[in-house]
């Protein structure tokens, strides 16, 4: 009998990092090492079988572990947020197409993230910084509702800005008494910074309302749809293009996505 692609393997939460009041990053390890090496932007199904199973982007990886940065939103994620290190989880994957590395190599990269939307971008940013000479200038524009809601604080404040030829611009919707940085929505900050589209690929992920206005801003700044990359969310159950629900037109987000260029999205029904 061939291997059942819906069967997870058991992993263990080795480390938990509290990113924000409602986002935690989980490092998951496996007996015998990582079961697979995901490409940046790929996904995996994570389960507490008695509670449920959900599709999450793999926000980074190490030699021995996979990382998932998960916002508390429903039953499964609430249970994961209650979990302590040592908790075992089911993992299956990798799923999805990942970011288009071929399109990005040799180009300047502009990452635009909002809230937990930095999680999938992080896998790509980490990859680019590890293969620094394959890519040109890297600019990261990232925003969250408040300073407390910024994820990956160590990386965005202390590490990435010090990488070669890398620029990080942070904004928050609403500051607090200690916030010295920029205040304003991501799309407005993007227009203010006005990065030149020449030789550039932009990769954006965030809440739908942010993506909507970011795409409008990029259009105004004359970025070509072929060079605008984004990721989509849909409810998923199987992850392998069989269970039906994540279709957008004739494309399945789990198989053909979650990463699409704006040019590809313009050819699909706008039902996402």
């Amino acid at each position: 009998m061939p291997e059942n692609p819906l069967l997870p393997m058991a992993g263990q939460i080795e480390r938990i990092i509290t990113e924000t009041p409602d986002v935690k990053t989980f490092h998951v390890t496996f007996t015998g090492g990582k079961p697979f090496v995901p490409r940046p932007g790929q996904l995996a199904m994570v389960s507490l079988p008695a509670v449920g199973e959900g599709m999450f982007s793999i926000s980074s990886q190490g030699e021995q572990h996979l990382e998932f940065s998960i916002k508390k939103a429903g039953m499964l994620t609430a249970a994961l947020h209650e979990a302590e290190t040592g908790q075992m989880v089911g993992v299956r994957g990798p799923y999805g197409n990942g970011f288009p590395l071929d399109l990005c190599r040799g180009k300047d990269l502009l990452f635009i993230g909002g809230g937990i939307g930095l999680a999938p971008l992080r896998s790509m940013i980490v990859y680019c910084l590890a293969h620094r000479s394959d890519f040109g200038h890297i600019q990261i524009i990232y925003g969250a509702r408040s300073p407390a809601d910024l994820v990956f604080k160590e990386e965005i404040f202390d590490r990435w800005p010090h990488e070669p030829d890398t620029e990080v611009n942070i904004t928050v919707d609403v500051g607090d008494d200690n916030w010295q940085g920029h205040v304003g929505f991501v799309p407005a900050y993007l227009e203010e910074l006005n990065p030149d589209p020449a030789g550039k690929v932009t990769v954006t992920c965030g809440p739908p309302i942010m993506i909507k206005f970011v795409l409008q801003a990029l259009d105004k700044m004359r970025y070509a749809p072929e060079n605008i990359v984004t990721t989509l969310e849909m409810r998923m159950k199987c992850g392998i293009g069989k269970c039906g629900r994540c279709n957008i037109g004739s494309s399945y987000v789990c198989l053909d996505g979650p990463v699409f260029t704006l040019a590809q999205l313009q050819n699909l029904p706008d039902e996402y």
């Binding site: 069967l7 507490l48 449920g52 939103a73 429903g74 269970c243």
Partner: protein, 333 residues
């Protein structure tokens, strides 16, 4: 052709059922469907059974794996169904074509669904050629021939007092070589007679539908739908499923079960977003999925014209009327 006196069918099926399960059309629980043959069973040949044979490959509920949880521990327990050989005896050409579409869904595009395959690859299809159209049939609209099926192992013909049998595959030929088997004789397949009650004009499909997604025709089309999901459960091509858990203390199992794109929580995400929030989007997705998205993805329509959804929809939301209304709009655009 091989022929068998109809009175000999039980002994033929009995011989066939040695070492296999033979599914036959019969009345069961107030429904007509395919059930395991056993001596004395009354077979149902009048119309195509209400419940299609898709449940034999893709059961309404099916365990995927078991698990044990104790404290922080988790053990995943894979399950091998160990399927024995099976024969579906007397399915119609439309359902055979639907099986071919399900094969494309479950066995192609990057992943093979092993649970589907273990049932499918051990199953032979004995396909009954139709002699007349049923009350809501339109298989010919999709280019299907109601008297044959390419993926049959054996074709079955109603010759009046006898059954005619013609092998299509080597495995089908083996089925004929039973001691109680039919005998070879010159006989002609019966003529198909009668006009089809329904028709879908497919000339504009699927490309003509591409600009139709935002058309106002959907604002009216969906209104009478109750969202009951009967159409999707009876459809031999609808393949959507959910995956859920059944817990008993420290152990349980994950299972899949049929789901329906007509249900409001089908695409509802944990954060509350729903890309298909009303019946309009759901109805549109169901019909476009069958008439546009499946042809684009698999090169085949997601409908075989069996008419089950037409007969059983409580508000008569008829796919042939929908498709033909879309055709009108496309033609007048």
């Amino acid at each position: 052709m091989y022929v068998l006196d109809k009175s000999q069918l039980p002994s033929f099926l009995e011989a066939m059922a040695a070492g296999r399960t033979v599914f036959v059309p019969a009345e069961a629980g107030g429904m007509t469907r395919f059930v395991p043959w056993q001596a004395g069973i009354q077979l149902y040949w009048e119309e195509n059974p209400v419940i299609s044979p898709k449940e034999l490959f893709f059961p309404q509920t099916q365990v995927l794996y078991g698990y044990r949880t104790l404290g922080q521990q988790l053990e995943i327990l894979s399950r091998d169904e160990g399927n024995s050989p099976r024969v579906i005896f007397g399915l119609r050409p439309c359902d055979a074509a639907a099986t071919g579409i399900m094969d494309d869904v479950f066995l192609t595009k990057g992943y093979e669904d092993s649970l589907y395959r273990s049932r499918r690859q051990n199953t032979l299809l004995v396909v009954l050629a139709c002699r007349r159209p049923g009350p809501a049939c339109f298989c010919t609209s999709f280019g299907l021939d109601p008297t044959r099926a390419d993926n049959a192992d054996l074709m079955l013909y109603d010759l009046g007092a006898e059954w005619g049998l013609e092998a299509v595959s080597p495995a089908g030929q083996d089925l004929l070589a039973k001691p109680a088997g039919p005998v070879e004789r010159q006989a002609a397949a019966p003529e198909f007679a009668g006009d089809f009650p329904l028709e879908i004009k497919v000339d504009h499909l699927p490309s003509g539908l591409r600009p139709m997604f935002r058309h106002q025709v959907w604002d009216i089309m969906y209104q009478k739908c109750l969202g009951c999901g009967t159409c999707t459960y009876l459809c031999p091509v609808c393949h959507c499923f959910d995956i859920q858990s059944h817990n008993r203390g420290v152990q349980g199992y994950r299972y899949r079960c049929w789901d329906s794109c007509m249900f409001s929580d089908y695409t509802l995400m944990a954060g509350g977003a729903n890309p298909r929030p009303t019946k309009k989007e759901r109805v549109r997705n169901r019909f476009l999925h069958k008439l546009q998205f499946m042809p684009e993805r698999y090169g085949k329509f997601g409908c075989v014209g069996c008419g089950r959804c037409v007969l059983k929809c409580p508000v008569n939301l008829d796919i042939t009327q929908v498709a033909n209304r879309l055709a009108e709009v496309v033609a007048n655009a």
